[in-house]
Structure formats: C-alpha cells, structure tokens
C-alpha cells in the first residue's frame, strides 16, 4: 500500500500538472479541476493495489476525473445549461486520446501565480498544482503545520473561483508583468530553500531543486523569454555552491571562505548555457540575467582576489538603475570595496543608511561592520556586527556574526 502511495506520488510529480491542466481546459476552473484530480488520485489508491499501476497513469487519472465530473453534474437537480454543455463535451472526449498540450501547463502556471492571490498562496499553489507536491510535503518544506498549508491551498482555490480567474495565458499587454510575477514566485521558492529565512536549517536543497525544476519547465514552455533563462542561470550558479556552503558542523561558510573546488562545475556549465540562451535572444539583460551575470563572475573565479570585481561593479550599477533596490546598492558597495577600497564603499553604505533604507534589516549593519573592521575602526565595527546579530532571524547566521564581532 505504501509502495503504491510512493509510486503514485512520483507519478503525480511527473504527470500531475498535465492532468490538472487538461481537466482545467475542459471544465474552465482550476480549483474544480484540482478537486476532480484529487478524487481520481484517491480512487487510484484504492484500485491500483488490486489492478496494478496502469501503463499510462496520466491518461487513467484524467479519464477517471472526467467521469467523476460528468457523474456529479448528472446528479445535480436543476442542471443548468452550462453544465449540460460541459457534460456533453466531456462525454465526447472521454475515450479520446490523452494529449496534454504545453499551453495548458503554461496556463496552469499563470493561474497558480495569478495576482488575485497573495504571495504565500501563489507559492503554495505553484508547488501544489504545477510541482505536483502533496500539501504535507509543502508544509514540511516551509516549516509550517499541515493544516495551515491545507487551509492556505483551499483558500487560494476558493479565491481563484470567486475571482472568476479564466484558464488562459495573459493578454499580450499584460504578458510581461504576469510573467515576472511567475518568475518571482519561482525565485522566492528557490531562495526559501537556498537561505532559509528562519529556524536552524541553513539550506533546504529539496526546495531549491524544486524551484530549479519549475524554472526549467517554464524555460521550455516560454523559450523566447530571456528573463526565464536568466532566472534558470541564476539558480544554477547559486545551487552549484550548495556543497561548499555548509561546514561539517552545519554552520554556514561565506563565499570568501568556500572551497571552490567543491562547487558543482557541471551545474555551473548548465548556468553558462542558460545565460547564453538568454543572451542569444538579443533583447539585453534584465533583472535575473544581470544577477546571473554577477553569479557567473563568482562561479568562474578561482578565488576572491581573482574575481572580476570591476565587471561585478558594472553589473550591479546596471541592476541598481533597473531595480532601485537598496539591497542591490549594498551589494554594489561590497563590490566597490574590492575595487576601490573600504572607504569608498563606506560612503555608499552611509548614504543608504541616511536615506533610511533597509532599516531593521541585519544586512546594512553587517556590511558596515565588515567595512569598519577593514578600516581598523574596531569598536565601531564590533557594535555594528552586534546590532546585525540582534536583527537576524537565522540562528546560524547569528552565530557567524557574533563570532566575527568577538574575533575583532
């Protein structure tokens, strides 16, 4: 029984999105499609231990779900015309070929990341209906209770239905805004795994790998979008450092101290390929491709000293102009300290500080502390690093900052 469950979970990861997408196209409603698909999964759990796993499991699940839809509409009293039509259409298709089309999956992704949903709901829906993960799995990945995650998903489905979100790709004029929404959901999933924002776990590689898989899926569905390839490249470069980012005792190892021989060079090569795909579209680099370019400089440098910091400063300048994001500016300051020294960098940081940016975040004091230490202003540096440690939510990062302050 548990074997069937595990097999079904694996099949669902592979086929789930396509099953839900096909159903959604037929019934015109993603949450109804998802409910039907889950009922079919429940049937499979009962029947497959007896009958064995069908050769084309995706087709089996889709056919069962369609049958359920028809039966439930048949049972309704005062069946309205809309349902009668859908039921007739389904009847016509029920024994037809199971041919999911890529566009259906793309529609599904846009629906899961629809702007009527909050960020948490978009993330949960994407992992659930596109990634094919069970609610328990998603709850575990995000360190929240299973009931919380289930409620979040149910609520998101109700919201999509209430908002009458159509099952389609966005209109051309909305396309790029909506696509960047999809990409930020995927990147958010990645960063949640790459640098856990809370708790004691430094890296949750399963979550990051799932984001990478989602990114690759979107890259195949929308190959003409440079930013999609830029995002995949960025995630490949960052994920290549996983093995080197944790010391044997589980504490984080910062970029400067990482053993670069332990980076996954096959993954770096895949990052290069993805970024080359973005550049080959000749539409210039935007947000993700610029970040990928910076990550690429690090990935190909033999050491901190041998890193092309001039190029990194330029890329940060472009990224800063584009995003107006204070974190980018802070990173530029770090790069400037490598090209022009800590004093020039400190000026940038102090300007940011005066502007009130990043207030309450540990990032600013931790960078400022590092720069002051380099300038030999030890007591100020120690105070900044202690402040940073107080503001950080990740236990391991706190330990690193306090150790730094102590070592001065």
């Amino acid at each position: 029984m548990t074997d069937i469950r595990r097999t079904l979970d694996a099949i669902w990861r592979i086929e789930g999105a396509r099953v839900v997408a096909v159903l959604a196209r037929m019934v015109g409603d993603v949450s109804l499609a998802e409910d039907l698909a889950q009922e079919a999964v429940a049937d499979a759990l009962v029947q497959w231990p007896e009958s064995g796993v069908p050769r084309n499991a995706g087709a089996w699940l889709t056919a069962v779900a369609k049958r359920k839809a028809i039966d439930s509409w048949r049972r309704r009293e005062r069946l309205d015309e809309r349902y009668r039509t859908i039921a007739r259409d389904l009847e016509a298709h029920i024994s037809g070929e199971w041919e999911p089309i890529d566009d259906d999956v793309l529609r599904l992704i846009f629906t899961a990341c629809h702007p009527v949903l909050g960020r948490d709901a978009q993330v949960a829906m994407t992992l659930r209906i596109v990634g094919g993960l069970a609610s328990e799995e998603i709850a575990r990945m995000f360190l929240v209770g299973v009931p919380t995650m289930q409620q979040r998903i149910v609520r998101a489905k109700k919201t999509l239905t209430a908002a009458r979100v159509p099952f389609e790709v966005p209109e051309p004029e909305e396309w790029s805004t909506r696509l960047s929404g999809v990409l930020s959901v995927i990147y958010l999933i990645f960063t949640e795994g790459y640098a856990a924002t809370s708790g004691d776990r430094w890296i949750r590689t399963d979550l990051a790998n799932e984001a990478l898989r989602l990114g690759r899926i979107v890259a195949e569905l929308a190959p003409g979008e440079p930013e999609v390839h830029g995002l995949v490249a960025l995630m490949e470069f960052q994920a290549a450092r996983f093995a080197a980012r944790i010391a044997p005792d589980g504490s984080p190892v910062l970029l400067a101290d990482q053993d670069r021989a332990r980076w996954d060079h096959g993954q770096i090569a895949r990052g290069d390929a993805a970024l080359a795909r973005a550049d080959a579209l000749h539409r210039g680099r935007a947000n993700y491709a610029l970040q990928a370019g910076i990550a690429q400089c690090h990935a190909h440098a033999a050491s901190v000293e041998a890193t092309d910091w001039d190029r990194i400063v330029l890329l940060y300048e472009a990224l800063g102009e584009l995003t107006k994001n204070p974190v980018v500016e802070l990173n530029r300051a770090v790069a400037v300290s490598m090209t022009s020294g800590p004093l020039a960098a400190l000026e940038i940081v102090d300007r940011l500080s005066a502007g009130g940016a990043l207030r309450g975040s540990h990032l600013l004091p931790s960078v400022r502390g590092e720069l002051l230490a380099k300038l030999g202003r030890i007591s100020e540096a120690r105070a900044e690093l202690t402040t940073a440690a107080e503001q950080v939510t990740n236990e391991r990062q706190r330990a690193v900052l306090l150790a730094k302050a102590k070592a001065l």
Partner: protein, 140 residues
C-alpha cells in the same frame, strides 16, 4: 539525487532494431528526451555506436588482451545512458519505465555518487584532487 539510466540490450534486440525504420526510433527516443527536458529533470546523456566499432580489453590473463568487436554472444550490451535529477527512487523508476524500449532491452538505474559518499575520505589526496578535475572538465 542524480540517477543514471543505463541502456542494455541483447544481441537479438539489437538485430531486431535494425529492421525498424531508423526514423521511428529517432522519433520515439526524441519524444522521450523531450518529455524529460520539459519536466526539467534531464541533465545529460549519450548514446553509443554499435559494438562492431568497439573493442574489449580483457584482464583475465597475465597481460591485457584487446579484442575487436563484435564480441560474439552478449546478453547485455551497454548502449548509452541518461543522467537525470529525481527527488526519489520512485521518481527515477517512473522515468525509466517511460523509456521507449522493446523486448530484450533493459534499463539499469543507478544512483550517481556524490560528495556524501566520500565523507569519510575527505582528506584523501585523490578525493581532493577530483573536485579540481571536475572544475577543469566542467563536469559533474
């Protein structure tokens, strides 16, 4: 986790495949590869040319003996491989089952070793060197 899907075929299956239109084989394999690309799990793979082009180095005797292919009767000739990333053994099984192979062919599926398999030997000279080699080769 990474898994390698290793294709093995009997002589009979390889002979039988020669009677199939080559384009059909290309199309079936192409669709399989594409499905793994679109699912974001394919990392790489290679196919091998026929055994008649290969040779075997045998270490049974004092000195290695080199024999040109084909090798007489073989039950399991290694014909190529795919490298995929899967989140579980079951997922690797599912991808393997989707491979368009016929009677007489098998896929052997093996987990690819990673750093964690060599944790106890992290100060071994060659274990340390290997990471550098991977960097030079750009492989994983």
């Amino acid at each position: 986790m990474k898994y390698m899907l290793i294709m093995r075929s009997t002589d009979a299956a390889i002979e039988a495949s020669k009677d199939m239109p080559f384009e059909e084989i290309i199309n079936a394999m192409g669709a399989y590869n594409e499905s793994m690309m679109k699912a974001g799990v394919l990392l790489g793979g290679e196919g091998l040319s026929g055994a008649e082009e290969g040779f075997v180095v045998d270490f049974s005797a004092e000195e290695p003996i080199v024999t040109d292919g084909p090798y007489g009767e073989t039950h399991e000739l290694f014909n190529g491989f795919w490298l995929i990333r899967a989140s579980s053994k079951e997922e690797a099984v599912e991808w393997a089952k989707r491979c368009p192979l016929g009677p007489g062919s098998k896929l052997e599926v093996r987990r690819v070793t990673d750093e964690s398999d060599f944790e106890d030997f992290s100060d071994n000279e060659y274990v340390q060197k290997e990471a550098g080699w991977r960097e030079e080769l750009g492989t994983n």
